[in-house]
Amino acid sequence: MNETKEQPQNEPELKINLGGIILNSPILAASGPLGYGHEYRELINFDPFGGIIVKGISLEPWSGNPPPRLAETASGMLNAVGLQNPGLVQFMEKDLPLLRDAGPKLIVNIIGCTPDQYTGVASRLDRAGGIDGLEINISCPNIKAGGMAFGTDPRSTYRVVSAVRRKTKLPLLVKLSPNVTDISIIARAAEEGGADAISLINTLSGMLIDIDQKKPLLGNTFGGLSGPAIMPVALRMVWQVAGEVKIPILGMGGINSADDALQFIMAGARAVALGTGLFYNPGLAESIKTGLVKYMRKNNINTLGQIEGIAR
């Protein structure tokens, strides 16, 4: 047995630790586009997803915004769903049981208009079982602070994150809004409040006008811009925040290919989430996973940790 052989290359390892959640793949489904997952589960293979982040859940049902809620933009889209959701009780009774055995880790995105509403959702989900982590969406209007989103002010951010932190032992992701002057101070406030990871970015605020009707295209006037159009902004924020916090980052915003995902990882993201790209290509997670493995083999990379933040 003395032949010289090519060193057998290790199979690339995609497993990562995202703030205490161990994911088999660094590819997640972003909160929103997939809803509560059931519909997509019939359509696509969930295996390539390390985790699924379900659509925002509030204490009570929210009815959402009037239609039209969607518009296409150049290399992107606007949505003004307005966080419509069936509320915590129905989610726990109807949706959660269907998701528990889906395969990927399950992260629940939580929303509220006051810190109490956030903690109300968090404490009940903490005891629900079968949930691997929570993601706090701090883009909601803070009713006590005149409706400015929690995520636009470091103090409100700290307050809501630390309040939720006290109510749950589950790994806690905090999802930041990009509509701010300085994303780093918001990210630091989230870290200080007890976040285990930072999710970046939510949608950019935008609008379109229907020139025939002479009125805003969306029923809600404003909507959130997502898709490849915003990727350079998302990547910049990941880069900035990675230099400011010690906790890992879940990067998202316009990811549409393995190369896009690699840009996020090299900018400092531990994992990536897919949103709008799933509308363009429901099988996107699979093709990104294949692309990542191919890249890792070609470049002799065993774990993504070797390239996390390497461009910095």
Binding site: G64, P66, E72, N79
Partner: protein, 235 residues
Amino acid sequence: MRVTLYAPDIAREAYPGQFVHIFMPPEHRDHMLPRPFSIFGTNRHTGELAVLFEIVGRGTALLAGTDPGSSWRLLGPLGRGFPVLQPGSLLVAGGMGIAPLAFLAASTTIPRTLIYGARTADQLVCPRENLELPGLTVYEVTDDGSRGEKGTAVDLFSRLVEGAGAVFACGPRPMLAAVRSISNRAGIEAWISVEERMACGIGACLGCVVPADGGYKQVCRDGPVFRAGEVIIDE
């Protein structure tokens, strides 16, 4: 324009009122969202499926510009279509609303009537042969009288509604609203097919809603065909 696609899985399952999502060719990254189109007809033997569409914006222009023989990514059949036709049914199509109704009309041979209206003759885009069907009576109507009767589909509908078995309509919102209230007054069951901008097409993203009593319904999953009373359609 009428496009025939080879899509045996979809053709096998689809029934009238359902739709397909057509994804943009991958080199067109500026269009992230697929486009929904009603199924205009299927041929289970050949595995073919037809859609009928008009160019209204960039996406439909791109699709219309693809070469014959190209492949398109498709998702479908999607949504909840029409119930089975009863004898004496009255079908009301406005403009492109003909697409699902032509498929519905072709699904049976029992006696049924189709009102097919548009602004002008050249907006009656459905090929004539698709409406030459046993047992089907067709009334054409145009705003300017350039083909068929002069007037609107709603005018004609008001006259013909009495005694209809059930009503099945697809067309512009104001037409649907009128059909809804006229059927309601006449005490006749009506089904309408509604359009809304879509993203996922499968009921996940909550993007395509239409107001209903006690909240919103999703057009792609709960519809596109609704019982007329189920949804709120502004005149």
